[in-house]
């Protein structure tokens, strides 16, 4: 980490498996750096206040809200975004499940829903549809596609109905 002693700092973050050197303002959120500096616009800005979950990414494998995270604090960490899920042009099983179950309408919340669902499955919380609903509560869908989102996650996770 290099502190330029103005208001900019240079640090290194692994983004979807690739090491990236980033120079930005100390106050910049991880969400703004992903979208504005790295052109990774798959991660969405909804409320920008931690309420909607559209900005969900994985840091060191754990789901967080990137709008509530300072970019500089991710120095040396591993960040995974929706763009890194299917590197060979195919679909990640969760992406395919969202298509199969028609789990989106406008699609704006979908990257956050999918990244959050990956976190949920890793946390071992995809044990029932009720558990999926509870542990997806940090992701809002204003189109109201919730039943299909839960079905898609249950399908991808092999949750018994």
């Amino acid at each position: 980490m290099t502190d330029h002693r103005d208001d900019r700092i240079t640090f290194t973050v692994a983004i979807n498996g690739h090491s990236r050197s980033i120079t930005t303002h100390a106050c910049a959120t991880l969400l703004d750096v992903l979208r504005e500096e790295l052109s990774l616009t798959g991660t969405k800005k909804g409320c920008d206040m931690g309420a909607c979950g559209a900005c969900t990414v994985l840091v060191d494998g754990r789901r967080i809200k990137s709008c509530l995270a300072l970019a500089v604090m991710q120095d040396g960490r591993d960040v995974q975004t929706i763009e890194g899920l299917a590197p060979d042009g195919g679909f990640h099983p969760l992406q395919q499940a969202f298509i199969d179950h028609d789990a989106l309408q406008c699609g704006y919340c979908t990257p956050g829903q999918i990244m959050s669902a990956i976190g949920l499955i890793r946390e071992g919380r995809a044990t029932s549809e009720a558990s999926i609903r509870e542990y997806m509560s940090g992701n809002l869908c204003r189109c109201g596609a919730y039943p299909h989102i839960v079905a898609a996650i249950a399908d991808a996770a092999g949750t018994k109905p």
Partner: protein, 326 residues
């Protein structure tokens, strides 16, 4: 949004050294800090990153448990010692915020989170907590969510932390470090009432850092429960909550701990309920009689009188739940 300078602390000593100047904020999980900063409520000149300090462990100590201030909410909730030995804490944590926030937010930060009072957060109308001396819009305004215990004419904002309610019920103590050394005080005394200086939520002084929470051992901790009543099923702050813990032996309650959330300007211990439970058999008659005392001393505002009965019912249901658990 006021720009700030950022420094990462190498260790606790380095952090405390930087924090001795005015206009400094610590940041760890950042989940509440970022909201306060974006809303213009917090405008530090220097933000000191303490997230990499080695203060994130959960360890047994003197029969109780010591939780590092930088332990993440999700890690503490899933820790086997907490899940099995202090269910009221694990349940309060899992009822808080959302999974993404719990993965980032720390225990120390949870205790220092600011109120969710709409007047404090929005800044559109007077708020003594946000702008000292400007007035309290909740006195005559939208006060359905506000406190029925501990409020003054200066402020009626309810304390938002679920974890703090569980910890106060368990007689937890908070360990604070500064350049002058360490001090430890009861968590209940850590939070301030808004009789004066409603802008100060706690007795923490500038330059002090929460380093750990000590939760003493007690036979009641294992038989404990957190019940949270909300306006929606998940990802919402409490309208009313109840933390209860019972030590039952030979058909009698030896010791009871009852605290409430969503109703006080700070986590509110219900000692009248505890006294009514102590020595009595753990049956529905005892629980009903004790729960009726939950609202004793309440001073509701125009739109939140319903919280008195809701609190009595929450305490009763939480007590019955503890009895039914093995």
């Amino acid at each position: 949004m006021n720009p700030f300078t950022y420094r990462r602390a190498r260790d606790a000593r380095d952090a405390l050294g930087m924090a001795s100047n005015p206009g400094v904020s610590f940041i760890a999980g950042g989940t509440d800090f970022m909201q306060l900063w974006k809303a213009g409520i917090s405008a530090p000149d220097l933000v000191v990153d303490i997230s990499r300090l080695a203060l994130d462990t959960v360890e047994t100590y003197g029969g109780g448990v010591r939780i590092g201030a930088l332990a993440r909410m999700s890690d503490v909730a899933d820790h086997p010692d907490i899940r099995d030995g202090y269910p009221v804490m694990a349940q309060a944590l899992l009822a808080s915020a959302s999974p993404q926030v719990r993965n980032a937010a720390t225990i120390g930060g949870n205790l220092l989170q600011r109120t969710r009072c709409v007047y404090f957060r929005s800044g559109a109308l007077p708020c003594n907590k946000r702008e000292p001396g400007s007035g309290c819009s909740a006195q005559e305004g939208e006060n359905r969510q506000h406190a029925i215990f501990g409020a003054s004419t200066l402020c009626a904002a309810a304390h938002a932390s679920d974890l703090a309610v569980a910890l106060v019920a368990l007689d937890a103590r908070v360990r604070l470090a500064s350049r002058d050394g360490e001090r430890t005080l009861a968590l209940e005394d850590f939070f301030r009432s808004p009789d004066t200086q409603p802008e100060c939520d706690t007795v923490i002084t500038p330059g002090e850092l929460i380093v750990a929470i000590d939760v003493p051992a007690g036979a009641w901790a294992r038989h404990s429960h957190y019940l949270k009543i909300r306006d929606r099923a998940s990802f919402e702050f409490a309208v009313v909550s109840a933390a209860v813990a019972l030590d039952v032996a030979d058909g009698r309650i030896r010791m009871a701990r009852v605290a409430a959330g969503g109703v006080g300007t700070k986590p509110w211990r219900l000692r009248a309920c505890e006294a009514a439970l102590a020595g009595a058999p753990p049956d529905t008659a005892t629980f009903t009689m004790a729960a009726r005392l939950a609202g004793e001393g309440a001073r509701p505002l125009r739109r939140n009188a319903f919280k008195v009965e809701l609190l009595e019912r929450a305490v009763l249901r939480a007590l019955k739940t503890v009895r039914e658990e093995p």
